[in-house]
Amino acid sequence: MNKTVNQKAWFFVLPVLLLVAFNAFIPLMTVVNYSVQETFGDNTFFWAGVIWFQDVLHSERFHAALGRQLTFTFTILAIEIPLGVAIALCMPRRGIWVPVCLVTMALPLLIPWNVVGAIWNIFALPDIGLLGRTLNGLGFDYNFTRQPGDAWFTLIAMDVWHWTSLVVLLAYAGLVSIPDAFYQAARIDGASSWAIFRYIQLPKMKRVLTIAVLLRFMDSFNIYTEPSVLTGGGPGNSTTLLSIDLVKVALGQFDLGPAAAMSLIYFLIILAMSWLFYTLMMRNEDQ
């Protein structure tokens, strides 16, 4: 289309361009810069080539952290997506309870992330925390600071508590956009609740669910604050996820080169997996 040309429009884009440059592009370039050099922290740099990348890719520590990360992400996706959809299905579609439900759902999302970690830390303490004491009182040997299994359980419970709401809200938005006629037609056709879910609700929710999966995937892959406050990666390294490991390398050991290489690899993994998810879920859309 050759619309009437008006160059003034570029001025409106300029602030955004500058913002993106300062926010994303320049820091990214700094990381790239670090990832190919060696430094001892005195502002002198030596060319290191791809050695840090090789190191990271062959490091068992990285493999272990990546493994834990994948386990964590897929576990919470497997719980949060179905649970979120289920809760959304139970919510009323109209009436005075709608705003009440929506606000209740949104509450966990409004709490600062480090506070979430702190809340759960205290909540789960075996001696004084409500959850910890109750579980021990019921006869379970529960101590998330000592036993890796308990630590994982707490970590996942915390993430489910914190983020299922997001899936609920997205799925709910998808559900309310389905015209009443579809439900009426299905009732007339004698469809069971399962058939209504399978043939109407799920297909119509597909787009929002794709977004939900993508968001939850990226966010959970990047997660740092909450597990860091809750377990600090422990006991041992049992809950050291990629981001926690990265911070340990970068700030704990001050190995800037390997840390930079690691974060780039980390970034590329997220990018590749997000693309993969998106393509797979959208594949049938245009047929």
């Binding site: 289309m1 050759n2 619309k3 009437t4 008006n6």
Partner: protein
Amino acid sequence: MSLELKGVTKRVGAETHIHPTDLTLEHGVFNILLGTTGSGKTTLMQLMAGLERPTEGEVWFDGADVTGMAVQKRNVSMVHQQFINYPNMSVYENIASPLRVARLSKGEITARVERMADLMKLTPMLGRRPVELSGGQQQRCAMARALVKDASLVLLDEPLANLDFKLREELRDELPRLFADRRCVVVYATTEPVEALLFAGNTATLHEGHVAQFGPTGEVYRRPRTITSAQVFSEPPMNTAPIVKEGDTFRLYDGTEWPASAAGATLADGEYVFGIRPHHVTLTPTGAHPVAIEGMVLVSELSGSETVIHFRHRAETWVSQSHGIHAVPVGEVAGLHMDVAQGLYFDRSGERIGF
């Protein structure tokens, strides 16, 4: 005051949306663009408004070349098929918005909005939001906003298409009155021949990006230059059939004959295309030379006061339109009558043969 398109074309990529077009639209009458969806009405309007730039050719307004001029700098207003209003503003604010942009004084704005609201019968609704109005009132509000600013070019793109038919009837009556004492070029796009006829003025028949014919509405309707122009200007669609002239008779594909003198024709013998509008094919004979034809009824469509019968005649589908309500059942064989004196005759290239 006039709007002129000089050799205007519009191509997007390899597709031609508007073929070379020359049109001169005058003020003081309705200029109607008549054509089906996709015939190029909206594109032509966008070119006139300056929302699109022609690929070739020039647009002149009031004696000046405005081809490259941005739409903001032209004094144009437009009403769309959808009821476009600002949802969070009252009807008053909606109507006043173009005047605020033009920085008119407060008193002037109030005066103009009130006059417009009175004309559009919106006075009791001035304080309401668009969502609280009926469809007809919403479209009236959109029209009031377009008309309040004294634009010198007013483009109406199927403004009545989304309204109930009784409302459409009402607004069709009102619209010409709104423009009676204004000096502006009015362009009105529609898919409905009857709307074009009732607004009179001038009509351009559009088909696939071509202007088939342009002229006074009644003349374009009764004296179409080509078969395309006649078909665009016929709803229900015109019946067409191959016909042979031999000596003193016309013979239809099924052998039905009528004297050539009935059509007043002095044509050379040969093959032609016969076109007859549905209301000249009726259940009861009309005109001086009714010719009988039989058909198997596919459906009788009853509007409130007329009957449109779709029927099969040999392998062809024909349409007839009669006064009154006649519910002829599906599948029945009905006797119909063509008033051949009202028929149109085209040569095989589609040009009408004037006689």
